[in-house]
Amino acid sequence: MSTDSIAVCLMLPLAAAGGIALANNRPNLREAVSLVASAALVLALLGLEPAVLAGNRPTLDLIEVMPGLVIAFEVEPLGLLFALVAAFLWFASAVYSIGYMRGNGEAHQTRFYLCFALALAATVAIAFSANAFTLLLFYEALTFVTYPLVTHHGDAEARNGGRTYLAFLLGTSVLFLLPAVIFTWHAAGTTDFRAGGILPEGMAPAAAAVLLAMYVFGIGKAALMPFHRWLPAAMVAPTPVSALLHAVAVVKAGVFSIVKIVVYLFGLDLLGGVSTHWLTATAGFTVIAASVVALGADNLKRRLAYSTVSQLAYVVLASALLTPLSIVGAALHIVSHAFGKITLFFAAGSIYTATGKTNVSQLDGIGLRMPWTMGAFAIGALSMIGLPPAAGFVSKWYMLSGAMSQAHWAAVMVIVASTLLNAAYLLPIVYRAFFRGVDADSKPHGEAPLPIVLALVITAAATLMIFFMPGVPLALAHALAFGACE
């Protein structure tokens, strides 16, 4: 029966894609398909939650591609968490997109919604991957399915952005991730994700370190420096694309994959014996460097993009600390960053739709004209910085606890310093919006269209809710960390 549930979860976005293609000429029906499918997906995933928390791991085997290499799915806490976040935010994005795409008169909307649904299908498949081979398959599929979304506008700028996107993501996955997976198969005889890891105990620490490096840098979607350039380049896409894919699905698939590989492929025990200083150093550097670049970026989306790079590195940093507490923090941060960042991107798109403005320097006094938008923005900013009552506070708490429990003072310093930097590049925007007067010669405008505002309210509210009622995400994160470290 739970095999069927997995199949349902995987088929829903695919069926939605089919429905969207068929409803090409009737926009309202087409949008309804996205909304209904995403809501149904959330419900289906919630249905799986009790079983997973009780310790069950529903599985579904599809095709044996090569002897011993099967496309297989297995639901475990982290995957369920990731899928839930993606599905919920798919719903919010669908609402948002209705307002944005119509408000900006975007062309090729069917292709947009279609690729969105397909991207969600790939994301759910990644979340439920039972082995590294399946993960690789759908990881690459996600890259190709999101390419039309990134290059949506079809002009030279979009084409160049698409080139950078593809160059970095395909380059890293083909050069590093693919050999890493093949080597895992070669060394372990399997690529299954199992608690405690699958790599042989006697594996040389140097070899394990190299393999870890290949995985971490091969998963370019995690935007770890120096392979982060695709993220700002992908901002040529329409905002709903940036919002869902680069705040939620694509980048989260990246860090999710890293956490999954660390916990289920290597195992915390094996990695304990391997020097991971280079990884914490790289992640730490990324956190700080990206925040510094964000400070200097005037284009709002660009600033948010570099903020994403920085926040993703938190997850990698927390994973590299290898303690159960920090793993909880990493998993929770996947959730809290998703909600917070999508709120921020939604707000950016809302501003663009209502006023055509794209730069921070143009945002004086805009809060008075667009209170809902900027209110949501403020909540998102709080979450990024890690202040209560926003979700980011919970995940940062766990990450700091994890770092301190290891007496890893460098990591603590990085987290504290970047918190300050986050405040430095986000709070001034809120300040300008509410406490500065409007430019005399700017055109009068109101709030963005209703669907946009509605979506903003949903995600901002969720960001707050996670702080007050962290039940489901926290339970799943705990199950991941403590279940995997027996």
Partner: protein
Amino acid sequence: MTLSAHFPVLQVVVPLVSAPLAVLARRATAAYAIVMFASWIAFGLAIALTMQVRSEGVVSYPIGNWPPPWGIEYRIDALSSFVLLLVSAVAAVVLPYCRRSIEHEVPREQHYLFYSMFALCLAGLLGIAATGDAFNAFVFIEISALASYVLIALGRDRKALVASYQYLILGTIGATFFVIGIGMLYLMTGTLNLADMSERLAATSDLRPVLTAAAFITVGMSLKLALFPLHQWLPNAYTYAPSAVSAFIAATGTKVSIYVLMRFYFSVFGAGLVFELAVGEVLLVLSLAAMFIASAIAVVQSDFKKLLAYSSVAQVGYITLGLSLESVSGLTASIVHLVNHGMTKAGLFMLVGGAVLVTGGSGMDRLAGLRRTMPLTSFGIVLGGLGLIGIPGTAGFISKWQLVLAAMERQEWWLVFAIVASSLLAVAYVWRFVEVAYFREPSNPADRRREAPATMLVPAVMVIAASIYFGLDSSLTLGGAATAADFLLGTSR
């Protein structure tokens, strides 16, 4: 003897006989029907032979009942049946495609000659795979080669004539080198039967003529399989030939030549002898050169068919790379890529042929904005391109995985990186098509959506779909390749 006992010889005879019948038939439709019927029978025979080999091991058929080694023997084993399947399947799929495709590219009064040459080429290729006699192999090599020279010369552009002439010269030199090698082997062993030759070579002590023979055979077949730097004939031949011919020859010509090389290396000379000769190192270097240099040249081409042709040279490099690794997994990778690449390239050339029909040419400028006029074809080409890169889910991925695994088994980490790095070059040239077809406007914006005719589109789409299917369920292709590799290395000295 029952009919099924004669299958090995019928495999070659049926297409061979259909060639003069097609000439006698004179009318294009009749010739087409005869040859297509013959090729489908040949495909059925190949399947039947594969089943026989699975149950019996090696199928041996003495021609005219003269027992080997005095008579010519047809010998079907795991590897030959695999190649027979590939060649006959490609012919069976390309022939329905031919009908509309050549209407556009070959003068009407020459159609019946086209079909008869096609049948002859098919018979020759099947004969190479089926035979167990060295000189018989040479004869079939020349039959298929001569037929393909004619087929290529039938292209629309006058450059097809020059390309065909160039291929004739180089191909004949290659075949003649091959014959010199066989001559030396005959002088040393006194027999032409491959199995017998193998036994007698094992007993030979004077190695120098044997090694010379190996060298001549290697160079001769390298010319025919377009191993870098002996590939000069290939780009022009594939580009200017009629699209159906490009599809057929790209999928089969070089592959059968590789088969001959494998047959001689492992079944006649023996792996031990051949690799003692530093053949492995030489093939490795040349394969890497092919993979990188040919891919790089492909990136800057302005004609899409020529781009695909250089891509073929690079992909042949992967196959010979697997060969040079001297292991069962390396050989498995070679054989499976032989089939996977044949499939992918056939599909790609067929789709491009459809585009040539609709847009009038294969230059990148003609293909601009193809997604508007031919959305299915463009998507099919993208899928085929993904197969060339080796993205998971395509047949090309299976071969790449195997090849990397084979390199890892030998702990050659730099080779692993070389293999994946060259795939990135493939991304560059595949993406050129994507950008031209999807990001540019068609030269004639008023063009309505107009796909190629169904008889052309359906076979092409079927082949591309097959390449995706075999990328998700590789039991037939990889299983067959593994069996063939095991057999070949197992029976080798």
